[in-house]
């Protein structure tokens, strides 16, 4: 884990110099300098959040379209960060998952850092049909389990995707909820259940 992070950082720094596109690179360098100069810490949001990690650095420098070989190598790298429950069980409680999916709280400078962080899921996805206030930044997840089957393979995919979306699409717009420390193993399991449990309203 620590080794991972060191590597990511070590990678990002030389890449800033290494990557091409000199024309807008100049403006990007200025942008980064301006960001460093013109932000101030507030609440739980410290200035450390402005630093790019390896994935962010690559995506920022390739317009979110990294070359295939980088995409391949780095998604595999991200997948290796996923922490699975010790008992191997990936299906939690869909009712709890629904609550997590509803909440968009957490991590902003106005949020109380002591309170649990939400999954933000409905901000971007259609999930259970009863919730009509859903976003469309991500694909619809309605009938996710019905369409894909509640297999060990899909459970592992759903769990891994929620834990670290960048393990499948390096510059995905979806946050890395487990990797970022927003959701813990139990919470991710509950979300997997929301998507895959045959009893979940998602699959009714």
């Amino acid at each position: 884990m620590t080794k991972k992070m060191i590597l990511a950082v070590a990678m990002a720094a030389p890449l800033m110099i290494a990557l091409p596109a000199a024309a807008d690179g100049d403006h990007r360098a200025k942008a980064i300098a301006v960001i460093k100069k013109d932000f101030q810490p507030r609440g739980q949001a410290g200035l450390d959040r402005l630093a790019e990690d390896g994935v962010q650095a690559i995506c920022n420098r390739t317009g979110n379209k990294p070359p295939d070989y980088i995409e391949k190598a780095m998604t595999a790298d991200q997948l290796a960060t996923v922490k699975y429950p010790a008992d191997g069980k990936l299906l939690g409680d869909w009712k709890e998952g629904e609550k997590i999916a509803q909440s968009g709280r957490g991590f902003t400078w106005t949020d109380n850092p002591g309170l649990p962080v939400g999954g933000n899921c409905y901000n971007c996805h259609k999930i259970a049909p009863k919730e009509t206030s859903f976003g469309t930044i991500g694909p619809s997840l309605y009938q996710f389990g019905k369409l894909r089957g509640n297999t060990a393979e899909t459970q592992k995919y759903a769990y891994s995707k929620i834990w670290n979306a960048k393990a499948f699409n390096l510059c995905s717009e979806m946050p890395r909820f487990g990797h970022a420390g927003a959701l813990n193993e139990k919470q991710v399991k509950d979300l997997v259940a929301l998507l895959l449990d045959p009893e979940s309203p998602v699959n009714k």
């Binding site: 509803q102 909440s103 968009g104 709280r105 902003t108 939400g118 933000n120 901000n123 009509t132 206030s133």
Partner: protein
């Protein structure tokens, strides 16, 4: 100021007495400026109580009372309401929200050429019937429509 006060006084026959009271400071401006606030009606916790408070215990449904509200409120804090009464001799219009903690929102009395219509923006705590009540020739009429109140953006 004095002229304004005079036109404001209800029951002008007693104006002499009232003027004396005003001069003596016995009446607060609130009471002078307009008719006294209908505390019982505005503080009523249910629609029946609010209707009773404005003297309209059993208003009759009327298609001539036109209530324009959105089917879904963009924001429950500001719901636009338009009421137009086509009932002859309409003298007042009230707006109520059934499920608000205090259902009565406002009541307007019209005189001296005012047309029997009003628009206002009101708060709604939840999905509810919005009711308009008009008084015409001493009788009360009503029209109602449901307004849905949904959540806003971002879930947090």
């Amino acid at each position: 100021m004095n002229t304004t006060r005079r036109t404001v006084l209800k029951g002008a026959t007693a104006s002499g007495v009232l003027a004396g009271l005003i001069a003596a400071g016995a009446l607060r401006p609130t009471q002078v400026l307009a008719s006294e606030w209908n505390k019982a009606a505005f503080e009523a916790k249910d629609t029946a109580g609010a209707l009773k408070g404005i003297g309209a215990a059993a208003p009759a449904d009327s298609k001539d009372l036109v209530l324009k509200v959105p089917d879904i409120a963009e924001n429950g804090a500001v719901v636009p309401v338009d009421v137009v009464s086509n009932i002859p001799k309409t003298t007042s219009i009230a707006i109520l929200v059934e499920k608000n903690p205090s259902p009565l929102c406002a009541q307007f009395e019209f005189s001296n050429g005012a047309l029997p219509e009003a628009s206002a923006r009101i708060k709604m705590g939840q999905t509810s019937m919005v009711k308009a009540v008009a008084k015409a020739d001493g009788k009360f009429y009503t029209a109602q429509k449901e307004v849905k109140v949904t959540v806003g953006g971002c879930g947090g």
